[in-house]
């Protein structure tokens, strides 16, 4: 028996995944619109989705690229404020409502999210270019500083501009709450798909090679600066998208929600799930977002637990819970089919696409 064969051919594998994901979206959405899931709980489900995007995107920079950006919340803030300001001005334009109908905001939301993502990506490009040429620790400290600068700017920019833009410490209010379950999880799907397909390509392998051995990567003709910047910018882009979804979920933005603590929270999700495992990020983002909501006692000690998690995982299981294992539904189906056929061939992970 030939090793590593894929019993289900490639395009079909994508189709199976797409159909299953669409079915999941449809079921959940009808449960929510039908009222089987309360508004409170659907809000939590949306924040789980947002956390997943944040964790999966940080995993790209930390797990795959091997860098440690500590300003992920800063990129999230950029996306949140950008998209919130766009949505607020769209809501203020009264004429649009009659032209496009009552739910007109929905038309603007995806564009506003992408604009937020682009804003974050632009800033990532600006700070990544000097920092990524240097040793890893400098990126950590520089992004940390950047996150703090973003917070200070959001607090004080109104005094400089002379008009109300971010509304300082009082916070940006009355943002249209356009984030729905469907929106959030479509973007969760897009994020996971884009990062997955990117990592399983020559670009993704180049990014992994930088994590593994930078000098060897250069000797293979890989432009390390370019790919470091690419990984970092893509990671920031999705953090910006998550920020926009967050703004539309809570309706109020305050600079203090995007401090260093938030960045660390996302890092904990990635570390616990296993740096380099998308499935790990998804799982730990879900659990760590749902837990404080469901368990009040956990919420109180959350930060102490998080910091202990970082230290204990690093000392005792540096690969995190999932290691670099990535789940492949079709891989599982392959094994199942083979079992039914009675074949007892040993399977090996791998192949250009799982």
């Amino acid at each position: 028996m030939k090793r590593n064969q894929m019993l289900i051919p490639m395009p079909l594998r994508y189709l199976i995944n797409a159909v299953l994901f669409a079915a999941f979206l449809w079921i959940m959405n009808s449960l929510i619109t039908g009222g089987a899931i309360s508004r409170y709980h659907s809000g939590i489900i949306s924040s789980i989705g947002i956390s997943i995007i944040l964790a999966v995107s940080l995993n790209m920079a930390t797990g795959y690229l091997g860098q440690l950006p500590l300003g992920h919340a800063g990129f999230m803030a950029l996306g949140a404020y950008t998209s919130a300001l766009i949505m607020k001005s769209a809501a203020a334009a009264k004429g649009l409502e009659s032209a496009l109908g009552a739910s007109y905001a929905a038309y603007f939301f995806p564009a506003a999210l992408v604009a937020g993502g682009l804003a974050a990506a632009l800033f990532a490009l600006l700070i990544g270019m000097p920092a990524l040429r240097l040793r890893g620790d400098y990126l950590a400290i520089l992004t940390l500083g950047f996150g703090e600068i973003i917070r200070v700017v959001l607090l004080n920019i109104d005094n400089v501009l002379g008009f109300k833009l971010t509304n300082g410490a009082a916070g940006l209010q009355k943002i249209p709450t356009t984030t729905t379950f469907l929106f959030t999880f479509i973007f969760v799907g897009i994020t996971c798909f884009v990062i997955h397909t990117m990592m399983k390509s020559r670009h993704g392998r180049a990014i992994l090679s930088i994590r593994e051995n930078e000098i060897a990567a250069e000797s293979c003709g890989i432009s390390t600066t370019y790919y470091k910047t690419l990984g970092f910018v893509v990671s920031a882009f999705f953090a910006g998208i998550a920020g926009g979804l967050y703004a539309g979920n809570v309706g109020i933005l305050n600079p203090s929600s995007f401090g260093f603590m938030k960045s660390i929270e996302i890092l904990v999700m990635v570390v616990l799930g296993g740096m380099g495992s998308m499935l790990g990020s998804v799982l730990s983002a879900s659990v760590l977002t749902a837990l404080p909501e469901l368990l009040r006692s956990f919420a109180e000690n959350r930060m102490v637990v998080y910091s202990l998690v970082l230290v204990i995982v690093m000392i005792f299981k540096p690969t995190g819970l999932m290691g670099t294992y990535d789940f492949s539904l079709n891989g599982l189906l392959d094994k199942l089919i083979l079992k039914l056929k009675g074949g007892n061939a040993r399977f090996q992970k791998g192949g250009p696409d799982e």
Binding site: K200, R202, E212
Partner: protein, 284 residues
């Protein structure tokens, strides 16, 4: 896929006995180095290094420990920028180029202290070597356009072919770091070949290998030269290997060339013997 600098050679298994006769070796130089030198803060590590390698020549770089051999490799691959001198590859001056540019121009190397992508599968290590041979852009990858599928399929086939030079096809899905030491050294050579070089630099390829592995490696190095028609330069301490396969040898001591020539010349050169064995005491 039109971005290939040189069309990759189609691999046909060449029996190891089918060695290019001496008269067929292409001696027109692929690499010309003149007056190359580097100082590390006052200390001159390499000075006045001159050498030329023919297009399908196997050249050896030998010398005692600390003579500056690896530094020469680091200069050729621009890990260090030279303080003095010029490096011409295929008639083009590489001054001011980076490691990456030099690699794209056709110099590939292995490392003395193995530098594999340890946590990735063997196949991916080779595919990373083939990175610049695959021409598709990131949108094509993300949207899984036909260009992606085609390039990936060709690259995978080629990677497996390259692995089969060293009989490593079966280990394609193993983690590179889990391979035995000798196999890791061979994988580094395969990865370097993936970048489609015109000149391959091997830094102590036989280190840690037993005599039978070394013999096999010698045959394989010649096979690589004969199949790919490329120049190979190697640093090695195993004299049986160097004398057995190198057509030209360069001896380095204290950062300077002390002798150049054919294996026979080198073996009888008094300066070389002195560098390796020390000066004979007067009257001893």
């Amino acid at each position: 896929m039109s971005q290939f600098q040189r069309t990759p050679v189609k691999l046909v298994p060449v029996p190891s006995t089918n060695i290019i006769p001496e008269r067929d070796i292409d001696k027109t130089p692929i690499l010309e180095v003149s007056h190359l030198g580097i100082d590390f803060g006052g200390l001159t590590a390499v000075d006045d290094f001159n050498m030329a390698i023919g297009r399908t020549e196997i050249a050896g770089l030998i010398g005692p420990n600390g003579a500056g051999k690896t530094t020469v490799f680091n200069l050729l691959t621009k890990v260090y920028q030279p303080t003095r001198g010029t490096i011409m590859l295929d008639g083009r001056d590489t001054a001011g180029m980076s490691t990456i540019q030099v690699n794209k121009l056709g110099i590939a190397r292995t490392f003395q202290n193995i530098r594999l992508f340890k946590n990735l599968p063997v196949l991916d290590n080779v595919l990373i070597g083939l990175h610049n041979e695959m021409g598709y852009h990131s949108p094509a990858a993300v949207l899984r356009l036909p260009a992606y599928w085609r390039a990936e399929r060709i690259a995978k086939e080629r990677a497996l072919e390259l692995l089969s030079i060293f009989d490593m096809r079966d280990t394609a899905y193993a983690r590179a770091g889990s391979l035995p030491y000798g196999a890791q050294r061979r994988l580094e050579i395969v990865r370097a070949l993936g970048t489609n070089p015109a000149l391959l630099l091997l830094d102590e390829p036989a280190a840690g290998m037993n005599p039978s592995e070394t013999t096999e490696l010698m045959e394989n190095i010649q096979k690589i030269r004969d199949t790919f028609k490329i120049a190979i330069m190697l640093i090695e301490h195993d004299m049986s290997l160097v004398m057995g396969i190198c057509e030209g040898i360069c001896v380095l001591n204290y950062g300077r060339i002390i002798a150049k020539g054919s294996p026979e010349d080198i073996q009888s050169n008094p300066q070389v013997i002195e560098a390796y064995l020390g000066k004979r005491k007067e009257g001893a």
